[in-house]
């Protein structure tokens, strides 16, 4: 992979929630050693069950850290105009300027993210005036109007108050707003959750449209594998705060290597299916109390003794990466040594 293709890179990223409880601290390891390389002009999907740390990972990448969430280790590097920088090394002002112009965010639950006492066009104006100084109010409304029209959304929404719009519409407005200043990276956190299937399609279509227009990167988090199959170019599977598999979407669907990924793929129903769908047994572990060794081993049907002892390293097989002892190099030796 060419270096110049990479727009976002992380290096053993760790972010924990550190909670003060009577008698000490409770540490929730939401992001526990994540290495990513995300390219330009692609849609990168992040999949996994609820509570695996996906949203926290997004926040950490966006540098949206608030107590009790803290960056515990590793770094996040962005490449802009050819040069790379550490996003956590920026000053508050630089970070504020970076936001929306270079990286944008669509939070989970777009139901309540708009200021309820002002119209949508005013929200647009707030974003514009904070990042594009020197425009008059009318100019800003014009920009907002053009933008909405281009994306195929009805212009009337600008005059509406947030509570007058449906949930699906609000989601689309949030996505459109994220694309307003043509950022190089857009983070979308569960954009289709809580929406019915028809509306979901509209949302997915909008994301595709934006990516095609801007040729930028969209990082999409959802537990819905169907959405990933639909628009993600590459896919990363997250479990218990770690990336356990990554690769081209088609490759992952056809040839899932990690037992957990296999469960995820197999759980998707297909036309003509009458057999029973099997999902992974048991529950995902509590991020405050991770099991020793591989975090998946208590639920893994192919668990080996080594899985209980140490955390698997990442094996790279071309574009396909997986963190599992089953696929580790020299695994026969490993297997033999422990049986």
């Amino acid at each position: 992979m060419k270096q110049s293709d990479v727009v976002l890179r992380t290096d053993n990223l760790q972010a924990h929630y550190i909670l003060e409880v009577p008698g000490g601290q409770k540490i929730v390891k939401a992001v526990d050693g994540v290495d990513l390389q995300i390219r330009r002009n692609e849609i990168y999907g992040i999949a996994g069950e609820s509570g695996c740390g996906k949203s926290t990972l997004m926040r950490t990448l966006y540098a949206w850290m608030q107590r009790p969430l803290r960056l515990v280790g590793g770094s996040v590097y962005y490449t802009r105009d050819g040069s790379e920088f550490d996003v956590y090394g920026l000053s508050k002002q630089e970070l504020r300027e970076l936001r929306w112009r270079f990286i944008a965010y669509v939070p989970q639950g777009a139901m309540s993210i708009f200021n309820p006492v002002i119209k949508i066009k005013e929200t647009y104006r707030d974003f514009l005036s904070s990042h594009l100084p020197g425009k008059t109010v009318d100019e800003m409304f014009e920009i907002a109007k053009e933008h909405i029209e281009q994306l195929g959304l009805p212009v009337t929404i600008l005059e509406a108050y947030p509570h007058q719009l449906s949930g699906g519409m609000r989601q689309r407005v949030a996505i459109a707003l994220a694309a307003l200043l043509r950022p190089s990276v857009i983070f979308a956190d569960e954009p289709t959750t809580a929406l019915d299937v028809v509306v979901q399609r509209g949302v997915v279509q909008l994301l595709k449209d934006i990516q095609e227009r801007l040729h930028n990167t969209i990082i999409l988090v959802t537990h819905d594998m169907g959405i990933h199959a639909n628009i993600a170019d590459r896919l990363g599977i997250m479990y218990a705060g770690r990336m356990i598999e990554e690769g081209d979407t088609a490759e992952i669907f056809e040839n899932p290597l990690h037992p957990y990924t296999q469960f995820l793929i197999n759980s998707l129903p297909q036309f003509g299916d009458t057999g029973e769908r099997v999902s992974a047994p048991g529950q995902p572990p509590s991020l405050a109390n991770l099991p020793r060794g591989c975090a998946f081993h208590p639920r893994c049907p192919k668990a080996m003794p080594i899985c209980r002892e140490s955390s698997p390293q990442t094996t790279v097989l071309g574009e396909h990466r997986v963190a599992c002892w089953l696929h580790a190099e020299g695994r026969e030796a490993v297997h033999a040594a422990h049986s």
């Binding site: 949206w64 929306w100 965010y105 309540s112 309820p116 707030d126 974003f127 904070s130």
Partner: protein
Amino acid sequence: MFLRKYLIPRLIQYFLVIFLGITIVFFIPRLAPTNPVERTIAEIRSRGTYLDPAHIQAMVDALTEMYGLSGSWLEQYKGFWVRLFHGDFGVSFFQFPTPVITLIKNALPWTVGLLFTTTMLSWLFGNIVGGMAGYANNRFWSKILDFFAMFIRPIPYYVVALGLLILFGYVYRVFPISGGATIGHRPAWTLAFVKDVLRHAFLPAFSMVLLGGASWFQTSKLVVQNVKAEDFVQYAQLGGIRERRIMFRYIIRNAMLPQITNLALSLGQILSGALITEIVFSYPGLGHLLYSAISTGDYNLIMGIITLSIVTITTLVLIVDLVYPLFDPRIRYK
């Protein structure tokens, strides 16, 4: 559209509350175990006045007439409302024969002036400072102010008033201890008179602003802290919107809404506080009048003050209620 759904029900509620309130005010004395007429006679007796038995019946009759207690209940009720519409509350007993309405009219401006200015001041001041404290709720000054408010807020009006009176009226003789203006001073729009009024008004006003301000400060701080954690504020922050804009357009604009409602709900309590403060300072408003009325058992005067207060408060609450939709589009457009 909005009118029908919001305005009409509110107006109905308004009239209903006034009607019920006044009806209650009408019935309580008539249902109470002691008859007001008997009370008055007892009161007179207890002051040692000798009453010729032959005259007592005449007194009873006169008093019954004066208190609007003659005739059947239905007749009384109708008569009550008729007189109400004419602004006739009967004649004061302890300042016979001055009509109650005159006494009230004289006292009213003092109370209104005190009430209005102190409520506005404490609401605005408390909300702004409390809002800023809520926004910067980790800063030292915010915590100190909160600490002070914790001491002041639970103390009832008259204790604060009494405390201030003792401290600044007796111990350190800075302010006058009673009255609205120096006795003998002619009311006129001269600077001297205005200054005199202000000097007299300072302590009562200060005690109310202190209490009211502490209360609004604390509620405002809490509200702002909650609003700060709302999704749309978080979104604005991660969108890189300028802090000042977030503070005013997102936080304060939204924090105002519950505070307006709270203002409406506290008006009754604030009025009570004002009356009590007036009593402590012998300030010539409705409070003081009420106190005199109670001490002398002046039935008509008490009824008049209570009725008027109910109408006033209910009306003020209605006004606040009608103003609210102007600030909250969720009510304006359903």
